[in-house]
Subunit: 496 residues, 2 copies
Amino acid sequence: MKLPVLPSILLVISTAHAFQYSELVQYVDSHQEEYVEALREWVAIESDSSNVLKRPDLHRMMETTAQKLRQMGGTVELVDIGEQELPGGIMLTLPKVVTARFGNDPSKHTVCVYGHVDIQPAKLEDGWATDPYNLTDINGNLYGRGASDNKAPVLAWIHAVEAYQALNMELPVNVKFVIEGMEETGSNGLDTMIMTQKDTFFSDVDYIIISDCGWLSRQPALTYGTRGNCYFLAEVEGPKQDLHSGAYGGTVIEPMTDLIGILDTLISPNGKILIPGIREAVAPLSDEEWKMYQDIQFDIDNYKKKIGVSQLMYSNKVDLLAHMWRYPTVSIHGIEGAFSDPGTKTVIPSKVTAKFSIRQVPNMDPAMVKRQVSDYLHSVFAKRKSPNKLKVTMVIGAKPWLADPQHPLYEAGKTAVKRVFGMDPDLIREGATIPIARMFQDVTGKGIIMLPIGAFDDGPHSQNEKMSQFVSTTHLSLFHKDFQIKPYKLMNVPIY
Amino acid sequence: MKLPVLPSILLVISTAHAFQYSELVQYVDSHQEEYVEALREWVAIESDSSNVLKRPDLHRMMETTAQKLRQMGGTVELVDIGEQELPGGIMLTLPKVVTARFGNDPSKHTVCVYGHVDIQPAKLEDGWATDPYNLTDINGNLYGRGASDNKAPVLAWIHAVEAYQALNMELPVNVKFVIEGMEETGSNGLDTMIMTQKDTFFSDVDYIIISDCGWLSRQPALTYGTRGNCYFLAEVEGPKQDLHSGAYGGTVIEPMTDLIGILDTLISPNGKILIPGIREAVAPLSDEEWKMYQDIQFDIDNYKKKIGVSQLMYSNKVDLLAHMWRYPTVSIHGIEGAFSDPGTKTVIPSKVTAKFSIRQVPNMDPAMVKRQVSDYLHSVFAKRKSPNKLKVTMVIGAKPWLADPQHPLYEAGKTAVKRVFGMDPDLIREGATIPIARMFQDVTGKGIIMLPIGAFDDGPHSQNEKMSQFVSTTHLSLFHKDFQIKPYKLMNVPIY
C-alpha cells in the first residue's frame, strides 16, 4: 500500500543531499500503513461543503486538519472567514481556513502549499460499489469520496514535512499551508482572507503549489490553466404546495413544465450554447494552441472507453481538448423540489429549482455571464406567458486561470518530470475549476504551479472516486511500488 | 373530535328502525377518541406502495387491517396476489389483499366496501408543517399522510360495523370489505384477484361502494367518473458513471440535456399535448355535458386561492371542469438519478430517469397510449443523434371509469344527500385515478357508487394532507360537530 507521499518530498527536499534520500525512502516505506490510516480517518468525515446540513462535519474536518499540523509543531491558525448567506437570509458560519508554517529561515525559499479538505456530495445509493466514507482498498486503489479530490494530496504534503521531522532533517525550504473547506462550492470567503493576509502570511511566499488536479493520460503532465465556473439556480414557483396530478393536472400551469421548457433553450443537441453573448466573449483559438494540442498525448478511444460512451461531442483531438479546456459549456446537474426518489409519485411539484453551470474561459466575465443568463432565461420564460414565478440566481462565479507555460517555474517542473519519467510532461489545462489559482494570481502576484498528483482515472466528483497507487502502468510512476527508488532522483533537481 | 364514521352508518343502517338511531349516535359520539386513536396508529405506518424499501411497512399495514377486522369477528382472509417484477428482474412480494365478511343472510342485500391502506410518499422535508406519520390535530383538522386518502374513510366503514356489533344490533345488510395495498401505484395484482374470486367472494355482492374521493366544493357531491393514468419512465443512459462537469463538460453528450430535450416535446406551454394520436382518441364533449358542467357549483377564484395561483390554464368554468375530469393531460413529476439535494454539486449524471404521467379518459386505451408515447419519444430522441440510450417504459396503465349518473344507485344517492343537506348533490367526476372502479365494472358487472368522504381541501398526495371534521362551513355537514343529529335523518332513506 503506497500513498502518494512521494511527490511532496520531491519538491520539499529538492535541495537535500544525496545521503538523506535513502533515509527518507526508508522512513516513507515503513510508514505507509499510517498514511493510509490517516487518509481513512479523513475520508470518514463527510465534509460536504455544498450541503448545509453537513456543516458540523466540515467544521470538524478543519479542526482535524489543524490538529494534525499542530501535533507536528507547526505554527497553526484557524482563520475565521465569516459567514455565508443562505437563501432566505439565514447566516451560516463558513469553515475556518487552516494556515500553518514550518520553518522561518529568511535565507530559504518559502513554498506555500494550497489544498482543500471539503468534498463533493456522495451517497452509496448513487451507485458506489463501496461506502464512500469508508476508505476501501481494491487492487491497490483506495476508494472513497475525497480520496483524490483533495484529501490524499493534502496529506501527501503534510506527510512529506513529517518525514523530515521524524528523521531530524532540516527542511530545505520554509513550508506554509493554506487549507480551505469551501473549494467545492467556489472557495467562499477565501478571497477576502487572502487579501487580508496579503502583506502578512503571504508576504514571504515565493511560490504556490496546487495539487488539486490530475494527469490527462498515462503521460506525465503539468497544468497551466483551469476553467472557471458560474453555477446557476433557476427556480420556478407556482402553487403554494405540491398538488395531486390527478386532481389538478390539466387546470394548473405546472412549474416543472415551465422549467423543462426554459432549460431546453440553454444548449443545442450538438453542444452549441444558445445564450446570446456567451460564445462571442471567448478568446479565439490561436495557431500556436492548435499546434500544441496536436502534440499532446490523448487517446480518444481510451477516453471513450474510460467513461463508457460510444461517441463524443467532437471526433478529433484538437476539438475535444479545446472543448475540455478552453471553451465554455453548459451542464444541467439536476432539479431540486421535483420527485427524485424511486417509485411513482403522482405529484405536481409546486416549486422546482434547476441547477446548471457554465464553465468559464478567457475572456468571459462571470458578472457579465450572470446578466446574460438571467436576461435570456427571463425572456424565454416571458414567452410562455406563465403565471408562475421565475428566479435566476448565480451562486458561484469563479473565474478561469491561465499561467504562462514558459515561466521559469514551469521550466523547472518540466526538467524535474523529465528526470523522473524520462520524458517531457504534457502541458495541459484543466476543464474543472480551482478558483484559488486565479485568486492567488490576482491578489498576491506570486508564481503558481499546478503539479497533478491525481491519476487520469481517479473519478473526482463521480461515484467510486479513488486515489490510485498507479498513475501509470506503462511508464515509471511516482506511485508504483516497483519503482520506489526512481522518483528520488528528482530530488537532485531544484525546481524552484 | 369527530371522525367521519357517520356516513358509513348512513348507508349500512339505511333500513334500520328509528329507535336504533339515537343509540348509534350516542355510541359513536362516546367513541370518537378511540376512532382518532385508530387513525393515529394507521397513519404511523409508512405504507408507501411506490417505494420498494417500505414494503415491510406495507405488509404490516395489511396485517394490522386484517387483525382489526378479525377482532370484530369477521370472516377475514389475507389473499396472496403474488409478486411484482422490479426493473432488473427482481421479484417483490405484493401486499396481500384483505377481504372480510360480516353477515351471510341471503334475505339481505350485500354491500361490498372497497378501500386502500397504502399511501403516497411523504417526507417532513417536502414542506410538511408536521411529521406526516404522526397524526396531528390542528383546529379540528387531523394532519397526516394517508389520513384522507384513504385510511380514515376505510376506518369509518369499519367503525360503522363495529357500532352495530357493540350495541348488539343486527346489521341491516351483509357487509363485505376488499382492502388493498397497491392503489397508489395502480392496484397491481388486484385485477387477477377479483377475476379469480368473481364467482366466489363477489358472487353475492349487490353493490360496491368506494369512498376514495372528495367533494369538489362546499356543495355535497356524488362521483360518477374517474380518469385513468398511464405512468411512464423515460430513462436516458450515457457514460458508465457520473462525471465531473468541469473535467468532462464539453466533450460528453450529456444524458440530462437529452432528457430535458425530449421532455420539452410532450406538452406545449398552453397545455396542448403534442404526442400524436392522444388528443384524437378523446370522446368529444357533448352538449349535455356542457350544460351539466355549467350548472355545477365551482368557484374559480376560490379554487385559485386554495392552490395559491393567480392564473389557471383556462379561464372559464366549463373548460376547467372538462380539463380536470374528461380531457387528458401530461404532468412531469421529476427526475431520478440527477442531482436533487440541496447544494451545488457539479456533476454530469450518467443515467437519468424522468417520471411523467398522462391521465386517461374515454375513449383512450392505455395499450395504445403506451405505443404512442414510446414511438414519439424515440422519434424525437433520434433527431438529436445522441449516442446515449433511451428506454421508455409504462409502469402504470390504469383505465378511466364512467358510471351512468341516472342509474338507480345514483338516484338513491341523490335522494339521500338531499335529505341530509337540503340540496341536490353535484354530480361530479374525479380527475384522479381509482382503478378499482373500472376493474369492478369490467369484471363483476356490479353497480358501483362513489360516495366522497374527503373534503375538497384535504390535499391528498400533497404536503399537509388532512382529514377534516368539516366538509363544509356554510352548509350542514356530516362532520360538523354542531350538526351531529341532522345526518341521521338519512337513515330513513334506503338508498339501495
